[in-house]
Symmetry: D2
């Protein structure tokens, strides 16, 4: 099986720049970037990864092919709606959360249930007991360390 996969989750157009940086840094470290495949943070993380020649997976909620943004290399069409949030985080050796609201919170919670390490990039969701990072660089560094991967 292949290398380290990191799930990047979140939402909010105001967080796209940092998401793009996270995606780019992950790709530079050789990680595959897994997202929910749609817009904003998800699209930005994939775009960043592609800008550094990385590989991107989009795990989308609907039933049709072609839901994913143009920066997704491989689209996994789950057909299970919001239950795909479970698959997004389960597919990561670590998870980085950027912005986000309730859907992101569900993903962070599922990540803990499945014992996937989570890093919240500041400013982000307030949640006790979750590792936080002050910059995209630190988020990627912490995620890879927690994933047990070297990148």
């Amino acid at each position: 099986m292949a290398g380290v996969q990191v799930a990047v989750i979140g939402s909010g157009a105001e967080h796209e720049e940092r998401a793009e940086a996270v995606g780019r840094l992950l790709a530079e470290r050789g990680c595959t970037v897994v997202t929910g495949g749609l817009g904003e943070v998800m699209a930005a993380a994939a775009r960043g990864a592609k800008s550094a020649g990385g590989v991107t997976i989009g795990v989308v909620p609907g039933e049709a092919r072609g839901q994913a943004s143009e920066w997704v290399d491989h689209e996994v069409v789950t057909g299970v709606g919001h239950a795909r949030n479970l698959a997004v985080v389960a597919s990561g050796d670590a998870v980085i959360a950027i912005g986000g609201r309730w859907g992101t919170l569900a993903e962070i919670a599922f990540a803990h249930v499945l014992e996937r390490p989570v890093v919240i990039l500041d400013p982000g969701l307030e949640l006790e007991g979750v590792t936080r990072a002050g910059s995209p660089e630190e988020a990627v560094e912490l995620a890879l360390r927690l994933a047990g991967g070297a990148g």
Copy 2:
């Protein structure tokens, strides 16, 4: 279609007494109690509902029949693991959270995504922007009001 359904979610043996009270009060108001079907808070809420002659649904994660506690009248076997958390809250016209940890947090988050009203019974998970209740009576009262149901 039938009456008001309220999902009771959570975990923690120390919360069973209050969960049982919530289940009983919901049944007295004519509501069907939906839970994840397993132990602790889920079992206690179902037990409380049965003590008042109510009807209980258990939406269980595994693939086998017979996972649910003895206080569950109707067991819905989802076979989708933690993704069944989505079904538990989606099946409620309102949701009452008692104790709980990450799995409960995922359920509260999904409830918001699906616009189901949530009431957290104190002491419970700390989460901004969620209605809180100080007693089982208040939790049931608030849940039914938010559900738009009279009970």
Copy 3:
């Protein structure tokens, strides 16, 4: 935990009369009728069960409350689209298939994967190695025998 649950699956308006008979007979035997909650065969089976004072569960695919037909007592809202087919058959101690096309075939296949006994009511889907019944009475009789239940 409560009594025997039988899943009734299928589609096709031309099969509604037989589905209603199956639902009624199951209710008369004390079984709870589980369906996918929507129209045609699903609605007819639930209607039949209600005509005999039975209890009906509808396991629906979408995210909203209120998708189920008026003959469904308890609506379980899965939010996982066609993946709810797995939950429908998993919730039955036995499964009776009436008419149906590809969705029903997926359910029969999942029932076999999960080792739930299946009875196809003739005329129905052609599928090797599945028990067949010539009448609603025989379908119910066989389903209950295979379920290990007396009804």
Copy 4:
């Protein structure tokens, strides 16, 4: 979004050679091979694709990372058990079935529900109204034509 994705489904050790040929031919045509990620036909199809330098996605049922065979480049961990069968076929622009039993039948059925073209490689499951192919070459040719892709 990237190129054509073809789902290869099935089971049975006796079908591995043909599955490997299908995987290799798909990779030679530039397609990404999607499978359920596990053994036998799934592993063989992925192995064949890798032998031709292709890309492979494994959509696995459990919750842990590392379930997929060594020929899977990107593992999508769904956590939803057999409901992942829906995701496998939904992620294909076309589906090729090789051998298989009930799980494969569920996938073929879901493919039809979601209007994904299916090709059964002979000898394979008997099922009316599904396109059949007599060789791996023909199966790939038909799948790509039905997918609307040139490969």
